[in-house]
């Protein structure tokens, strides 16, 4: 069976290529796929059908975790459906050969999708795992979406495709949940296991209800019937297939599969019988109102699907047999009739029955086969449709008589039966309308002018299907035997059900007669009265669907407008509010608070803390940017002070350096910004913000208090001092932590510095449109005068120059650089380290820049900052990797003791190399920041204000220095 599916898959995949070779003659080749499976299925008939039917199964593992497996089974029901799917599929593919124009450019897509659709439908009827069934179920939905949208140029087609997709997927998803509920209670997703569940209990009932939503929506029952007529947008071969054998039959099939067990579920029969009968009547009435014969047939399908569902869903042995016969009959005649519509459309170029006239002489054979198929649809002997319908009536007459094991009372049973008869009456009427509409001679209507002759091959599939409808009508008892494998799943009924042309003078025959004669009368009356039912009294499901979709769209816009404000303050506020509401509430509910609160260790701490808090408040209150930055700096320095008071000079040193650098950078940036913050928000919003901010602060303090109060043991850091010396080979715990114990963190943060620096540089570059920010600017022109103390000193204007500053810079620069290098080496034991060293070197650069401008900076460091950064990162990571070569672990350090002549003993820890990387990265960062935020912005400013005093320009015609002015 898997092979059968794979054949379809291969054919679908090969279809585009075939079409590009053979054009529309690819279709007969493609038809071989379903045809071969059809033949293979026929050979299995003796095994899986008949009174001694056996079930053939195949199972392949797929996703055992979720109970999804490629489980396939062939029993009487699925065998019958599979024959329809493959047989009609093959015929429709043949039909396509003539239906499509030569060189239709979208044919490659169509052919692939169609074969895949057929394969999906085959998979659906063969699946023995409900999840697998769902897989194929949705695949038919998706492929039908593609097929319905075959001509997507028209908006109506696109809409129809979308409607079909959404409606059937909606039902499908409901069904999926139902399946999962069933599968989880059964412990397996095998249909057999699920059928073993007791048809009672709230969970099972709910699950079955969900499954039925899927079946009802797929089979286009009220209230989901509207998608099917819209699906007429598809090319006619698709309609023929979709209405007859595939897609819509899936719902009926599912009902048929589940009926043996779940017909006993309390809501099953009321729901299916009601919906089925209502749909049958609604569809029939609608069909009578159509002028487009294709649409007429589509509503006819809706009507028939209601009929089929009601019969198959009844859940008695007689109804099961009748239902299966009806399914087959319907597939045969509906496919034939749709094909007729396609042929007529092709020949006469219209499907409007008001314009079709006098076609019989042109296509007499086609007319004959149409009448045969139509007779089957209307239930006229000796067609299969009549045989099936007779049995249906018989089954329901039994129900009216004594319930036939269904528990349905005589009144309800009679109502259903009456509804079915009325539906059949309507069927007869619209059948006549169809035949008359296509082939009837209408007074005053000319025969369509450019009538094209019908090729034999084009009509052949119709002929085959109509003939089969006729022939099967004579094999009632054989069919009864054949389908025993299915109807014996139900308990025996009051009468032995049998398919036959002649049951004797039974009530069923009378009902058939009523339906046929009534239908004729209705048709005649309708023609006389020119009555076209518009059915305004019916609530339009289509309109409801549109209202739902519009409502969803509106809801989406509303909700999104509310939540997606596009305002950063709003987002920040909402995050803080969540923090306050969620962890904040938990903190308020916390009952474990320590009484042992030490407010401060020394008075100095308290003073610093107050200072820090005050600075923070003032920062937020300040209107001037510079003031805010300076005040934030105060907070930072206070932090350093706290470190110092705690006895951590190293941390304090680093913090001070960081604060200084940050301040300078801020000031460099602020030069180019408006001095004041933008306008403050309105008072109320401001108080809200103040409130959120203050509450957040209190909350953070609360966490600190609560968490520290419950400390459950010594922190790991108490072991650091000892371990730092023992394993890290250094006395400076902070440094050992940074470059050894937690060097992995440091390495990560290094990369943060690198990307931050390069990123800022690149942004400044892009915004100022200035090249080479990362590399030194043009060197000083050689002919220029160089300054006495600093080479580029003269590039600055006189107002900005300070000789004293230049002299001091000249004197201290190299000293600082040396000191910074020393810090790196000393860092492992005393205060210092690569980070502090790098910052120190950066400060030296900064001094050069401040004293001599950006050209001086380039003189001081004639290297590309990006390269320094990269080199630093490469050095650090190489140092991290190096131990691997010696059988160690990444970032593992070793101690090397060297005896060098003059310097004495050198105690070298390999983590030093890592620290050198740190140094380089920090140095590169500083260089980068000074170049982009300092030099880059300088240059930008000069470009914008070239005439201002003190500006420097490369132009030789202007005086070089402001001093000359």
């Amino acid at each position: 069976m898997l092979l059968a599916l794979l054949i379809h898959l291969v054919a679908a995949a090969a279809a585009p290529a075939l079409v590009s070779r053979l054009d529309r003659y690819a279709f007969p080749v493609l038809a071989l796929a379903p045809a071969s499976v059809f033949v293979w299925l026929l050979t299995l008939g003796g095994e899986v059908a008949g009174p001694d039917a056996a079930v053939r199964t195949e199972t392949y593992e797929w996703v055992p975790t979720i109970g999804l497996e490629v489980g396939l089974r062939l029993d009487t029901l699925s065998w019958t459906l599979a024959l329809l799917v493959t047989g009609i599929g093959a015929l429709v593919l043949l039909y396509c050969t003539w239906y499509f124009r030569a060189y239709d450019p979208a044919l490659w897509r169509f052919s692939g999708a169609f074969v895949a659709f057929a394969g999906s439908m085959l998979g659906l009827v063969l699946a023995s795992d409900v999840l697998l069934l769902y897989v194929f179920w949705e695949l038919t939905t998706v492929f039908s979406y593609i097929l319905i949208g075959h001509n997507p140029e028209r908006i109506a087609n696109r809409r129809a495709a979308m409607t079909a997709l959404l409606v059937t997927t909606f039902g499908g998803l409901a069904m999926l949940v139902g399946f999962i509920m069933l599968g989880e209670s059964a412990g397996s997703y095998q249909i057999d296991a699920i059928m073993g569940l007791a048809p009672s209990g709230a969970a099972t009932t709910a699950a079955i209800a969900l499954v039925l939503v899927g079946a009802v929506s797929k089979s286009a029952l009220v209230p989901f019937h509207f998608w099917l007529p819209g699906a007429m947008a598809a090319p006619t071969p698709v309609s023929a297939y979709l209405h007859a054998a595939a897609m819509v039959k899936a719902g009926v099939f599912l009902v048929a599969v589940m009926a043996p067990t779940f017909a006993e579920v309390s809501l099953w029969r009321p729901a299916l019988l009601t919906l089925g009968v209502v749909t049958m009547i609604v569809g029939g009435v609608r069909a009578l109102g159509q002028h487009d014969v294709k649409l007429l047939l589509a509503y006819g399908t809706v009507s028939q699907l209601g009929f089929l569902t009601a019969v198959v869903g009844l859940g008695t042995r007689a109804a099961a047999l009748a239902g299966l016969a009806m399914v087959v009959a319907h597939a045969l005649f509906k496919a034939a009739l749709f094909m007729v519509v396609g042929i007529v459309d092709h020949s006469a170029h219209t499907r409007d029955l008001r314009k079709l006239s006098q076609l019989r002489p042109a296509m007499p054979w086609l007319f004959g086969f149409t009448v045969l198929a139509a007779a089957s649809m209307a239930g006229i002997p000796p067609m299969l449709g009549f045989v099936a319908k007779e049995s249906v009536y018989g089954a329901f007459v039994d129900v009216v008589a004594d319930g036939d094991g269904t528990g349905i009372g005589p009144v309800a049973g009679s109502l259903v039966l009456a509804g079915l008869v009325v539906g059949s009456l309507l069927t007869m009427a619209y059948t006549l309308r169809f035949v008359w509409g296509v082939f009837g001679d209408k007074p005053g209507v000319e025969r369509p002018a450019d009538l094209v002759a019908v090729p034999v091959g084009f009509a052949a599939p119709t002929a085959v299907l109509a003939t089969v409808s006729l022939v099967l009508g004579f094999f009632g008892s054989a069919l009864t035997d054949l389908w025993a494998g299915y109807d014996h799943l139900f308990p025996p009924g009051v009468h032995h059900a049998e398919l036959a042309l002649w049951h004797g003078l039974s009530p069923a025959l009378g009902l058939s007669a009523i339906a046929v004669l009534g239908g004729v009368a209705l048709f005649v009356w309708q023609r006389r009265a020119q009555y076209v039912p518009t059915a305004p009294w019916m609530p339009s499901a289509e309109r409801s669907y549109e209202a739902v979709m519009r409502g969803t769209d509106r809801l989406a816009v509303e909700v999104t407008g509310r939540t997606q404000r596009g305002s950063l303050p709003f987002y920040l506020g909402s995050i803080l509010v969540v923090v306050l509401l969620v962890p904040g509430t938990a903190l308020v509910l916390n009952r474990t608070w320590t009484d042992d609160v030490v407010w401060f260790d020394s008075a100095a701490q308290a003073v610093v803390a107050v200072l820090m808090a005050t600075a923070a408040v003032l920062t937020v209150r300040s209107r001037r940017r510079l003031k805010a930055v300076l005040l934030a700096g105060v907070s930072g320095y206070c932090t350093a002070m706290l470190f110092l008071l705690h006895g951590a000079p190293d941390l304090a040193l680093t913090q001070v350096l960081v604060e200084t650098v940050t301040l300078v950078i801020f000031v460099l940036v602020l030069r180019r910004m408006v001095p004041y913050f933008s306008d403050r928000p309105l008072t109320r919003a401001r108080w809200l913000r103040v409130g959120i901010g203050a509450a957040s602060g209190i909350f953070a303090s609360g966490i600190a208090l609560a968490a520290a109060g419950v400390r459950i043991g010594d922190p790991v850091s108490v072991e650091f001092p000892e371990s730092a010396v023992e394993y890290g080979g250094g006395h400076n715990i902070v440094n050992v932590t940074l470059v050894d114990i937690r060097a992995w963190d440091t390495m990560g943060e290094l990369s943060v510095l690198v990307v931050a620096a390069t990123g800022v540089a690149s942004l400044i570059f892009l915004i100022t449109g200035r090249g080479g920010v990362q590399s030194p600017a043009n060197p000083l022109p050689s002919h220029q005068d160089t300054g006495r103390w600093l080479r580029a000193g003269r590039t600055l204007s006189a107002e900005r120059r300070s000789i004293v500053f230049e002299i001091v810079t000249r004197l201290v620069f190299h000293t600082i650089i040396l000191f910074s290098v020393w810090l790196v080496f000393a860092g492992h034991n005393g205060p210092g380290g690569g980070f502090a060293g790098g910052l120190m070197a950066g400060l030296a650069l900064m001094v050069r820049y401040l004293a001599g401008g950006r050209y001086e900076l380039d003189e001081a460091a004639p290297v590309d900052a990006g390269r320094v950064l990269g080199l630093g990162l490469a050095v650090a990571t190489s140092a991290a990797l190096a131990p691997l070569a010696f059988g160690g672990q990444v970032l593992q350090s070793a101690t090397i003791d060297l005896h060098l002549w003059a310097i004495g003993d050198i105690h070298l820890v390999t983590s030093l190399f890592f620290d050198i990387g740190v140094y380089l990265v920090v140095f590169g960062l500083m260089l980068d920041v000074l170049r982009s935020l300092g030099g880059g912005i300088d240059a930008d400013a000069e470009d914008e204000m070239p005439d201002l005093p003190g500006s420097y320009t490369d132009d030789e015609s202007t005086p070089m220095t402001g001093g000359a002015r």
């Binding site: 593992e61 939540t563 916390n590 390495m747 990369s751 690149s762 590309d864």
Partner: protein
């Protein structure tokens, strides 16, 4: 004995190699070709390493390395268990594909004059950060991992420095900094209470912390990660910041960054707070994230924005699985993460191609792509259906596992979330089908009334006819180097269906490992409790 597991020396390499590559990339400066080669080599190596780690972790249990040889409680440990290794592998494959794509896009998107040199090193740092976050066995180092990936993402999101990107970048940076602050406060609280940041150690010690405080710490961590993962109501920043970035950047962000947040939620929930699942809270978060996110997607008329909202929405599925916290729920969530990383990245890459082909990502300007670019259409359709949870694709399989877990849990709230997940699935299909109808089916020049006036776009409007030649010609107008990796990812996303059985097997074992906790804790602590076993060998007394 060796303190480290067999494959442990590999564990740090994804991070170190990426950073080394970044450093070398910068050091070679403006040599774009060298940068490309380095990046490609490094990322390929990471794919190999990650695959090996996954194999080892699946066979032998969690792989642990004590960085620098420091014992577990003191130094930093990196752990590659099944979850970490799996996500590492998927992210490595995805980042490699996106790298190739961005090489193809290079000239078009970044221009000849812009500092291309920043992209590759930054991208490698991003990879390092993501890898570090997945591998870290240390809460503070997890923070560092986040910082690394965030810092790199700040640079990438503003790449090109256009006004909208800088604006979007501002939102992104400020929100991210706030989330980091929340995370940092949480870490401070955790350390204050327990005196350790080693996760295995915390797993033991947090049990001793009084429940009131523990819940506060847990909620703080969850809040911080939820911002990063874009869980409603902490998600609004995402659709405002992602879509403006260049296509490959958005793609990799959408695929990976939020998943790192989800990963963190999952890790913390299972390892640190196993007895306090906070299921109801998370279920509500999942429900709202799914629904509000997908409603946002419906309201969009731009493909990138639409996809950004589906991204938010589908984070809800993963949170759903974490909230259920059963084996199946976690397995489903992990599977969904794998699926979603692949698919969301693919879709953004395809959108980049659409932008090149159609000159826009706005549904109002696009049209007729199914006819003009059938292969592109297929490349959109498959992952789009996958995203919508259409079977037999991976999105469907993940969803089934989650719904099963929800049904197993029972209770009205679980059913409500199941219903929400189904509605979300349907609405995702709606959003995607709307995109398909408009961009691919609607003819370009007709019916302008449907969604506003059609504005002719610049660029590639080659007039291929319908027909058999279309299949080949249309792709030629797109850079091969962009199409090839996209196709690879499309194929990968589709192939997830075929390998779903074994993949689900791994996620199921990963979930069991998460719930069991002991393998993780024991591997880290038992071996590591002997201080400096291997370190001592190296250090001379």
């Amino acid at each position: 004995m060796t303190a480290d597991s067999a494959m442990s020396f590999l564990i740090p390499l994804p991070v170190v190699l990426a950073l080394l590559g970044a450093g070398v990339c910068l050091a070679v400066g403006h040599n774009a070709r060298a940068q490309r080669v380095i990046s490609f080599v490094v990322l390929t190596a990471i794919v190999g390493i990650a695959a090996t780690l996954l194999w080892a972790a699946d066979r032998d249990g969690p792989q642990v390395v004590y960085v620098g040889g420091w014992p577990a409680r003191m130094g930093i440990v990196l752990v590659a268990d099944r979850l970490s290794a799996l996500l590492l592998l998927v992210s490595a494959i995805v980042t490699l594909s996106v790298l190739v794509y961005s090489v193809g896009q290079g000239i078009i998107e970044f221009g000849r004059d812009t500092p291309l040199s920043v992209f590759y090193p930054t991208y490698l740092v991003l990879v390092a950060g993501v890898s570090n976050a997945f591998l870290s066995g240390d809460l503070f180092n997890l923070y560092v991992g986040f910082e690394v990936l965030l810092a790199a993402s700040y640079v990438l999101i503003t790449l090109g420095g256009t006004g909208p990107r800088v604006r979007a970048g501002t939102t992104y940076v400020v929100v991210s900094v706030l989330s980091s602050m929340v995370f940092l406060i949480a870490i401070a609280g955790v350390y204050a209470a327990t005196g350790t940041v080693n996760m295995a150690d915390l797993a033991v010690k947090l049990q001793e912390v009084p429940e009131g405080v523990r819940v506060v710490l847990q909620l703080m961590l969850l809040t911080a990660f939820s911002i990063k993962a874009a869980v409603f109501p902490l998600s609004a920043w995402l659709p405002d910041s992602y879509p403006t970035a260049p296509a490959p950047v958005t793609a990799v962000f959408a695929g990976l960054l939020t998943k790192v947040g989800v990963y963190a939620i999952m890790r913390v929930q299972t390892l640190l707070f196993p007895d306090s699942p906070l299921s109801d809270l998370l279920l509500w978060a999942a429900l709202l994230t799914m629904l509000i996110g997908i409603l946002g997607a419906i309201a969009q008329s731009d493909i990138k924005r639409m996809l950004s909202f589906t991204l938010v929405s589908h984070i809800g599925y993963m949170v759903f699985g974490v909230a259920i916290a059963s084996d199946l729920g976690l397995a489903g969530a992990i599977f969904y993460i794998v699926h979603h990383i692949t698919i969301q990245t693919t879709l953004f890459l395809v959108t980049g191609l659409i932008e090149i082909r159609g000159g826009s990502t706005s549904l109002e300007h696009l049209g007729g792509l199914a006819k003009a670019a059938p292969v592109l259409a297929l490349m959109f359709f498959l992952p789009a259906m996958n995203l919508s949870g259409i079977p037999p694709f991976s999105g469907f399989l993940g969803k089934v596992a989650l719904v099963q877990a929800g049904v197993d849990r029972a209770g009205w709230l679980a059913y409500l979330v199941v219903a929400a997940s189904i509605v979300t699935s349907l609405l995702t299909l709606y959003a995607v089908a709307k995109t398909w109808n408009r961009a691919f089916w609607r003819p370009r020049t007709e019916e302008p009334d449907e969604v506003g006036e059609w504005v002719p776009s610049t660029g590639t409007k080659s007039g291929e006819p319908w027909g058999d030649t279309v299949t080949v010609t249309s792709v030629r107008s797109l850079p091969r180097a962009m199409v090839a990796p996209t196709l690879t990812l499309v194929a990968l996303g589709t192939a997830l269906t075929l390998v779903a059985g074994p993949l689900f097997g791994i996620t199921e074992r990963a979930a069991a490992e998460l719930r069991d906790r002991t393998p993780y804790i024991e591997t880290v602590l038992e071996d590591g409790s002997m201080p400096g076993d291997s370190a001592a060998g190296e250090v001379s007394p």
